[in-house]
């Protein structure tokens, strides 16, 4: 997770978020995260695919082989309804946490 290390468990949230936009293959997910984060996060294969496996095992995403934009066979990942619920939940949790951290950081000395 090169440039900036993601907090443990944040990658799952980001993957779910990106997949909520549209079904995507692994490379597309990593590209999208990098792009949407303004090049701050670079997700490498070593963490992305285990994360996808993890999400799949939990039933939050499902995968199927499709033909990619450039006519290659690629495994596309898609959010399940359970995944959508999970995303909403994690999002709320994240907002709670980040708001709390921000409040602490912004307290004037």
């Amino acid at each position: 997770m090169a440039k900036s290390d993601l907090l443990q468990g944040t990658l799952d949230l980001l993957v779910l978020r990106v997949l909520s936009l549209q079904p995507m293959h692994g490379w597309g997910i990593s590209e999208r995260i990098q792009q949407m984060s303004g090049d701050v996060f670079q997700v490498n294969q070593g963490s992305l695919y285990p994360a996808l496996q993890r999400l799949k095992r939990k039933g939050w995403v499902r995968s199927e082989w499709r033909v990619s934009e450039n006519n290659r066979r690629a495994r596309y990942y898609e959010l399940t309804p359970a995944g959508r619920k999970q995303l909403a939940e994690e999002r709320r949790a994240w907002e709670l946490v980040s708001a709390a951290i921000n409040r602490i950081l912004q307290v004037a000395y």
Binding site: H25, G26, W27, S30, E31, Q45, S68, R72, A74
Partner: protein, 215 residues
Amino acid sequence: MVWLHFLAEVFNVLFRKERVERELDEELRFHLEQEIEKNVRAGMGTHPPAGFADVLRQTVWGVDPEQPVPWVRTLDDMRATSISRERLNLLLVGAFGPTALVLALMGVYGLVAYSFSARTQEIGLRLALGAQPTRVLAQFIGQGLRVSVLGVAIRLVLSFLTARGMESVLFGITARDSLSFTVVPGLLLFAALLASFLPALRASRLDPLEALRYE
């Protein structure tokens, strides 16, 4: 019956494992290829070939830091290297051809010019006796052409016999290329015609009186 069931289970696990691995393999390969394609494209757009080597190295090392990248060369570079021998051969053939042509023309010119100077008195006499200058002109040109035609004929036969040996240094045409075998003799004859024309013209314009006194 239990062990059969067990065996089936083992097979199942084995084959499933194989399939999962194969799919993961394909998935990762797709990812890698996309990544490389993207970086190569980005690199090509923004980097001159020289600095591009570093971009490629960084890209490869970004995927696998252990991977050695011994050398990076541009396609132009590789192509130039791969055809350098052919290029040299062609250069030599291309240089020898015109050289041979110039030598041949100098030969024809020299021959006609020499026979002109050797026969100056004779020409002067003929002109004094009323020979037409055009006939003198035709005679000298004819002389040059005769030699050239003979030369071209001999050369044609020789090249036809030795062309096989040239096959390895020729590119794009066969050694017995019909166009070369018809156009080149014509060009040679034409050039010989020009080479003999100059001395012939001089001969036809000779002043009979001076020519008779010429020693």
